[in-house]
Symmetry: C2
DNA sequence: TACGGTAGAGAACGATCGTTCTCAGCGCAA
DNA sequence: TTGCGCTGAGAACGATCGTTCTCTACCGTA
């Protein structure tokens, strides 16, 4: 029941997950490879055999986090009722996420701020995730009868909510952002009465 | 014509400005004290006499940046016409800032993402600046007849615009954010016709 | 004019880091 | 059963870092 997964695949998954936890909690450069080795229970020799370098580990972490986020957002949208509710489900998801212990803002924004100008592969991975998020929001907004411009604005609210929640420690900014998103969506959607 | 400024004050100003440029361009941990020494033209001995430690230098940089931002926002608001225009002047300011060469997002968000969980003094300095910004926006919005809730939402747009512009490289997100802010402000302000 | 004290330059110290190298153990084949 | 080759653990290497220490030079006072 391994469906093509080798022992190395499982080691890599354990490694990337352990690194993700540490990088997200403390910042990437504050975490040495020895700490990753200890948290993952994988030797340095094996780590470098699996990922090649610390930079490649960071990129693998960002990719894993991007997939998890996309899946969670899609699951949240799937649970929502009509098209308008699907748009606002983004903020329901953020609301739940911000209240989680260990929440420390957007891992992509943090990584970009720390390494974005010195590590092109990190900058690229972050740009891709943000482009995917914007596209996801645009699809939802357009499906709800809104405009691409409204989608951009709603995505900006979601981005602003993430850094504000992390810095202020107020997890309820997602609700404020959601309320603003509802206002913008309704303003951009012709009434259908 | 020194108005109480000593040679040390001027050295400190030069030091903090040089450090600010380097930290903002590359990330704080990517810049060693030797690079700061070279850029500022101040010896290490003198640097440690002036600021005490690298962490204190970082905090001094954040405080300097906070003052500069507050002054620029206030100057932009002063130049605006009526109360509503003053609210939107925030986005005019952001629009101009995002187009500057060397723009790399919000220095506070970057610093928080990198050091916020390991250096309490950095986290505190960032929280104070964001609280001051929110208060500034609230004053403008309330003066324009809007609600504190609208102010929170407008501040979220400004925050979202900063990270989005940095990551996407699109400097015009400030205009989109401004348009959204106008919509939210108008929706929160009773019509006075 | 000379001596003593203080301030400051930058080399050096001790620590940490990313990555590699050495050695040992295990597995497979003859 | 033995020998060889390959994989992997973690110590070590070389580099970088924040901070301190040593030495020199300058200034002030007697």
């Amino acid at each position: 029941m391994t469906s093509g997964r080798t022992a190395d695949d499982e080691l890599r998954e354990r490694l990337v997950e352990a690194a993700d936890d540490l990088f997200y909690a403390r910042g990437i450069q504050a975490v040495g490879m020895d700490a990753v080795r200890e948290a993952a229970g994988v030797s340095l020799k094996k780590i470098y055999a699996l990922v090649g370098s610390k930079d490649e580990l960071v990129v693998a972490v960002l990719r894993r986090r991007a997939r998890a986020l996309q899946e969670a957002l899609e699951a949240s949208a799937d649970r929502a009722g009509d098209a308008r509710a699907k748009v606002l489900s983004v903020f329901d998801f953020l609301d739940a996420w911000f209240c989680e212990p260990g929440f420390r803002g957007c891992g992509f924004i943090n990584a970009f701020g720390e390494l974005g100008s010195t590590t092109p592969a990190v900058a690229d991975a972050v740009r891709r995730q943000k482009a995917a998020f914007r596209e996801f929001v645009t699809e939802l907004v357009v499906a709800a009868g809104g405009t691409p411009q409204a989608a951009v604005q709603i995505a900006l609210l979601a981005e602003g909510a993430q850094t504000t929640a992390a810095i202020s420690g107020d997890p309820h900014v997602a609700r404020e952002a959601g309320a603003a998103a509802a206002t913008l969506l309704d303003a951009a959607t012709p009434a259908t009465v």
